[in-house]
């Protein structure tokens, strides 16, 4: 192959010769790639192992969730929103249900709120555990994923007892939940709560003092707080940069103002901080769940049923029901109105903006996915970093593609 054939000549007829051709290499990472966590395409310009430019291409998983809402009644639409963010779909449901509850001003019983809080926090743990496993997998350690999945399976079994499904729950209803907890479920949750902290300690012991892990995460992918906010980054990724923004504290929804917990904040904003913040958040979630389980209005369903059978009128209080007001979901027409509900999902602000126009369908439903904004900071973080850092940085901002593409 002639190396000089394609080079232009100057007017004097002198060849411009290059002895080594050092073009940049454009690598098309994805849409199918082991560590893009779904179908993300990253057009990466590499100079050797150095990343010069990276451009995320999204939309491969666009299932037009927002358009679907226009052709279905709200009740028909609800089962499909599990898929907006399938790793923590209780949050989707909460945002959706709470938006309509605000528009229609539906009363939600206290017991329901507590059940919701427990399920959401358990769901946060499953999500963080999955992140923990896959993040270490991205860094090349294969075993932690299996450990993380062991705990996650236990929580999913709890969910299965409660909702009948392991992933796609569809458990919340407007103004309530579909059914009360099965008898003895709270005890199972307690058993998990007793066991989990030991496990989390184990995980940290395996990973967080490993010199290779520290080398690959400390000082890598530092996000300055101002930059993070500019890019709309939320959730643990933002808190790792030291911004104290947790909606559970800042704008308490559900019953988060009735439980005590701390918000772990990072100081440096590197991958290691994001790791520690998430690990710490799982422990804080356990705290919340324990308080919610202990303070559950009405207590365990078995007790409540006994009280009802024995004719205790207080057990039939509206706060202890599974619905505030029974509505016929098939024919239900919400009043006109609009509401934007953002919840603190495991990845940040998960928002549901709902406009109703008095018909059974919503006029417009907009999903605000936390991953969508979080992903947009990736090019900024990757500029001038090494290629293997892509995995530690991309993994650490915990993007889930169904939520990006919706």
């Amino acid at each position: 192959m002639s190396t000089t054939a394609n080079f232009p000549t100057t007017s004097q007829g002198v060849f411009l010769e290059k002895d080594i051709d050092t073009n940049d290499m454009v690598v098309n990472i994805g849409p199918q790639h082991p560590s893009t966590h779904g179908v993300l395409r990253l057009i990466t310009t590499l100079d050797g192992e150095l990343v010069k430019e990276i451009e995320p291409v999204i939309g491969y998983l666009h299932r037009s969730k927002e358009k679907m809402a226009e052709s279905r009644s709200l009740f028909q639409y609800q089962p499909t929103i599990d898929r907006v963010e399938y790793l923590s779909s209780f949050f989707d449901h909460y945002a959706f249900v709470a938006a309509l509850e605000k528009i229609a001003d539906l009363h939600v019983p206290k017991r329901v709120q507590y059940i919701r809080m427990i399920t959401m926090e358990l769901n946060r743990i499953t999500s963080h555990l999955l992140w923990f496993g896959t993040y270490l997998l991205d860094l090349g350690a294969t075993s932690p994923m299996f450990y993380a999945f062991r705990e996650r399976e236990k929580i999913l079994s709890l969910f299965e007892d409660l909702t009948g499904a392991r992933m796609m729950y569809n458990y919340y209803r407007f103004g309530g939940v579909v059914a009360d907890m099965p008898e003895g479920w709270l005890d199972k949750v307690r058993a998990f709560l007793d066991e989990a902290p030991k496990r989390f300690d184990e995980y940290e012991a395996i990973v967080s003092k490993n010199p290779i892990f520290l080398d690959r995460t400390m000082g890598i992918g530092i996000i300055q707080p101002e930059v993070a906010i500019q890019y709309g980054v939320t959730g643990p990724t933002l808190r790792a940069s030291g911004v104290n923004l947790d909606q559970r504290k800042a704008n308490p929804y559900c019953c988060y103002d009735e439980v005590e917990f701390d918000v772990p904040l990072g100081t440096k904003g590197d991958c290691y901080d994001r790791f520690v913040v998430r690990m710490q958040e799982m422990r804080e979630s356990l705290k919340i769940i324990r308080q919610a389980v202990d303070n559950m209005p009405g207590g365990d369903t078995a007790d409540l049923n006994k009280r009802r059978e024995s004719g205790d009128e207080t057990a039939n209080d509206v706060e202890l029901q599974t619905y505030g007001k029974k509505i016929n979901l098939i024919t239900y027409k919400p009043p006109k109105g609009e509401a934007m509900v953002t919840v603190e999902s495991p990845r940040g602000f998960l928002g549901c903006y709902m406009i109703t126009d008095g018909t059974p369908k919503a006029y417009r439903i907009k999903w605000r996915g936390a991953s969508f904004s979080n992903l947009s900071i990736l090019p900024e973080l990757m500029r001038g970093r090494l290629f293997p850092d892509l995995m530690s940085i991309f993994g650490s901002i915990d993007v889930i593609l169904p939520e990006v593409d919706r």
Partner: protein, 417 residues
């Protein structure tokens, strides 16, 4: 063996010269066939062992469906790979693409010929055996680079380049630490190294892993893990970055060749470690147990020798697998830095220290003190003690490099609103 075969050829009626040449190739082919057969049987069980060990680490059961305890699982996988389509894309360099797995596969199995499994069971007894082993083990890298280039795939290319740079970086400490062994033994013949190692009769304590500064062994071990591309040094096929690295484009039997050769080279390196540092085919109690017990049957001795070296080899294989189940992967810059800034200077220092040790061994007419029922030179003991202190200092330095101050970055924020 060559003679037998050449006689066979002569019996057919071929001229003597032709018969010899043909016999040479036939013998070489036969040897290679036997070696690769042995190697593949070893690999079959290594793959199963790895899967079982990883399953054990991660609390799973591992393969348990094909054959008793899943023993035939790898065979089934191999048969499946044999029947897979061998995909080759039009834009690939056909020659290099086909040549690469062969170039990777062949040298790793030839190494088996140089490992003394007993004092008799030895393919070739080369005077420069150790040198030849390293020559062969570095040839495998050519296969990887060719695979990366011939695949015409960017991931493969990156993987091939990484493997080249990694091999260059880690062969230096590998060879330097092996050189220390050769220096101590005074020979490059592998069998002689084994014999010299066990000549002292101290058993475990005369093995080079202990008598010749454990540091030598540690350097060799780390470098050999890098040499066979296993976690945490598996950058050429880093699955989370490069999909599968240099063998991304390979399928069917060509992929199986890469797969087999990787395990075969792990076996080869582990066997080499057993031979160079852990007394080869001798027991850790000095000599052979059966010999010490007075059983004087040669076959029993041979069997015991083979048992010892295979056991030692599999211990190292199991350790490599444990490491794989535990550690994350390094980055290329850390990998290079670790080799060039740390391992290579350390191995040079180590070589120097071993040379001093050797000089101490060679000193005569020096007062001796009785120890373990033998007369041991004071100079030897003094040097050894001094070097041991040096080693501890070095290891402390090693530790301080890797010991991080894990500052708890995290502060817990109480209610603010």
């Amino acid at each position: 063996m060559e003679n037998i075969i050449s006689n066979l050829f002569k019996m057919i009626g071929l001229p003597t010269e032709v018969a010899y040449i043909l016999a040479f190739f036939a013998a070489a082919g036969l040897l290679f066939f036997v070696l690769s057969l042995v190697g593949q049987v070893a690999v079959v069980f290594m793959v199963l062992m790895e899967r079982k060990i990883l399953a054990w680490i991660t609390q799973r059961k591992g393969p348990n469906r094909v054959g008793p305890w899943g023993l035939l699982q790898t065979v089934a996988d191999g048969v499946k790979l044999l029947f897979k389509e061998d995909i080759m894309m039009p834009h690939q360099d056909k020659l290099l693409f086909t040549l690469a797995p062969v170039l990777f596969f062949a040298p790793t199995f030839v190494i088996y010929a140089l490992i003394p499994f007993t004092d008799q069971l030895l393919g070739i007894n080369l005077g420069l055996g150790l040198l030849f082993v390293f020559a062969l083990s570095s040839l495998g890298v050519v296969g990887m680079v060719l695979a990366g280039w011939g695949s015409n795939n960017k991931y493969s290319l990156l993987g091939g380049m990484r493997s080249a740079s990694q091999a260059i970086s880690y062969e230096i400490p590998l060879v330097l630490s092996a050189l220390a062994v050769a220096l101590a033994a005074g020979s490059l013949n592998i069998r002689e190294i084994v014999e010299t190692q066990n000549a002292g009769g101290f058993g475990l304590f005369s093995w080079y892993a202990i008598s010749l500064l454990p540091l030598t062994f540690v350097i060799f071990w780390i470098s050999s893990i890098a040499e066979v591309n296993r976690i945490p040094f598996d950058l050429p096929e880093a699955e989370s970055e490069l999909v599968s690295g240099y063998n991304t484009e390979y399928s069917g039997m060509k992929f199986a060749l890469f797969f087999l050769a990787e395990y075969a080279s792990l076996f080869g390196m582990s066997a080499l470690m057993a031979v160079l540092f852990f007394g080869g085919y001798y027991s850790p109690f000095g000599g052979l147990i059966t010999q010490n017990l007075g059983i004087d049957i040669p076959v029993v001795h041979q069997l015991e020798m083979a048992t010892w070296i295979i056991t030692k080899t599999y211990i190292f294989i199991a350790l490599a697998m444990l490491i794989r189940g535990t550690l994350p992967r390094l980055k290329p810059d850390q990998l290079m830095g670790f080799s060039w800034k740390f391992l290579i200077p350390l191995s040079l220092v180590n070589l120097f220290m071993v040379a001093i040790l050797k000089m101490a061994w060679l000193q005569e007419n020096i007062p001796t003190i009785p120890l373990f029922g033998r007369e041991i030179s004071v100079c030897y003991l003094g040097t050894y003690a001094a070097l041991f202190l040096l080693l501890i200092a070095t290891l402390a330095g090693f530790g301080s490099i890797f010991k991080r101050k894990v500052v708890p970055h995290i502060q817990l924020q109480q209610r603010t609103v």
